[in-house]
């Protein structure tokens, strides 16, 4: 029985240590890039470019637009799922890929953003710029670009998905459960181990 208690005790210590490691790592807020997507092209005056993307809750997506012209208007829009479905009626086969659309439709989407709550502008600038979106729940977003120049302008877009290395809200319950399970078991080792007993009794 002593051997069994020692074995269970070691399992307990392992769980305890593991729980503490998870808790310790969750305290260190490290954000890592878990995915990258980029595109580039030329924007003509009568056309606009829309690039929808999806962001998960707890994660962050950094949107960066590069352009050598200040005539390019960039909008980062948060689109509700309902509005995204409606958008699908206007833009055929809308996916998470970039699409060239009529500039009139782009203006319509922007007007909708100011008029209703289904689409909201979360980032807006001219020329090169960057913004980071952090949704509270899984959400659809889109980058909308158009130009005020009469000549085509070149652009480049990058989307970087950033995630917390260890999501704190998930890690802490797991760590607490492991510590709660491991602590009583590890006491078995403490009480059954001769070495620990001698240490406690002051004879080691």
């Amino acid at each position: 029985m002593r051997r069994l208690a020692l074995l269970l005790g070691r399992i307990g210590i392992a769980l305890l240590v593991s729980g503490l490691v998870i808790y310790g790592l969750s305290l260190v807020e490290i954000t890592v890039s878990s995915g990258f997507s980029s595109m580039s092209g030329e924007l003509s005056p009568d056309m606009a470019v829309i690039r929808p993307f999806y962001a998960l809750s707890g994660g962050r997506v950094r949107v960066t637009v590069f352009s050598d012209s200040q005539d390019i208007e960039v909008y980062v829009l948060k689109i509700s799922p309902e509005a995204f479905r409606v958008l699908g009626r206007f833009i055929e086969n809308i996916t998470m890929e970039e699409r060239v659309i009529d500039v009139g439709l782009a203006r319509l989407i922007l007007n909708e953003a100011t008029r209703t709550g289904y689409v909201s502008i979360v980032g807006q600038w001219r020329g090169s710029g960057s913004t980071t979106v952090e949704p509270e729940s899984d959400s659809y977003y889109a980058i909308l670009m158009m130009t005020t120049s009469i000549t085509p302008v070149r652009y480049g877009v990058s989307l970087q998905n950033l995630v917390a290395m260890i999501p704190k809200r998930n890690a802490i319950p797991v760590a607490l459960n492991m510590v709660a399970l491991g602590l009583p078991l590890s006491l078995l080792y403490a009480f059954r181990s001769k070495r620990v007993y001698r240490m406690i009794a002051g004879r080691g």
Binding site: M1, R3, L4, L6, L7, R10, I13, A14, L15, V17, S18, L20, V21, I22, L25, V32, S33, S34, G35, F36, S37, Y54, A55, L56, G59, M96, D138, Y140, L159, N161, V163, M165, I166, P167, N170, A171, V174
Partner: protein, 272 residues
């Protein structure tokens, strides 16, 4: 009480001796900490999409979690099975176990759990922890799929354990078994890589089947993900039944070799 109780006690004692000899206190406890840290520290590489399935997300998490832990487990198994058991046979230490009031099968099982079972458990544990921390909702909504993915990841390690045990019994020398184990294991990894490459270009279904049997994780990736991690192995789509079939076949090979080893140890194995 009586006979059954004493046999169980002797088994636990043998198991504890085996674990303590391979993983002295606090080596095992530190290894658990290292496995947990390695499984969680590796990021999950995937761009979020609304259509990404629960299984694809779990696959992404497990892929990241098994990168370093898989390598560490292979090294650990080579040491604890090939070297430790090889040394025990070489130096006649195994005689001590056989002199206990235990059946040979019990000695074999206890030694196998202590040397191979513990690394295997550590590996599986790290994967479950990674899923619980990084994709808990996906894990609880698809426990069955998660188990298949974990089984596919630990399958090659189980095969490695059986192979190392075979080497130890054949060579009966710790250092030789260790050297042979390293050569054979890395040759296997290279062979799987080359076979995958040839399968990609030749689109040979028989060759792909062979890769899937040797590396069932590739079949699982093919079935669950939208992009295969091993390039080209989406040439032919696999069904759920086929994927499970490859996994079962992979384990069956290991089990057959293990059954042969058990028979040899129980009936034929002679200590010097």
């Amino acid at each position: 009480m009586g006979k059954g109780y004493s046999r169980l006690s002797a088994f636990i004692e043998t198991l504890d001796i085996g674990i303590t000899s391979s993983f002295k206190f606090p080596v095992l406890e530190l290894l658990v900490a290292v496995y947990t840290a390695l499984a969680l520290a590796m990021p999950t590489f995937m761009m979020p999409t609304p259509s990404a399935s629960v299984q694809a997300k779990m696959l992404g998490v497990l892929s990241g979690a098994s990168t370093l832990t898989g390598f560490v487990t292979s090294i650990l198994v080579i040491k604890t099975v090939a070297y430790d058991i090889g040394v025990e046979i070489e130096r006649n230490i195994l005689m001590n176990y056989l002199s206990m009031p235990l059946k040979r099968l019990d000695v074999f099982t206890a030694r196998l759990i202590a040397s191979g079972g513990i690394p295997l458990l550590l590996y599986a544990f790290s994967q479950v922890i990674a899923l619980l921390v990084k994709a808990p909702s996906e894990f609880f909504s698809g426990v069955g799929d998660a188990m298949i993915m974990i089984a596919a990841n630990i399958g090659p390690v189980f095969f490695l354990i059986v192979l190392m045990l075979l080497f130890s019994f054949v060579v009966k020398k710790g250092s030789t078994a260790l050297a042979l184990a390293i050569v054979i294991w890395f040759s296997r990894s290279v062979a799987v890589g080359i076979l995958s490459f040839i399968a990609f270009f030749s689109e040979n279904w028989a060759l792909i089947k062979l890769v899937y049997v040797l590396e069932p994780a590739a079949a699982v990736r093919n079935y669950y993900s939208t992009g295969a991690a091993l390039p080209g192995l989406r040439v032919i789509e696999t069904s759920f039944e086929e994927m499970v079939g490859f996994l079962v076949l992979h384990y069956l090979i290991s089990v057959i070799i293990l059954a042969g080893l058990i028979y040899y140890f129980v009936r034929r194995f002679e200590v010097k």
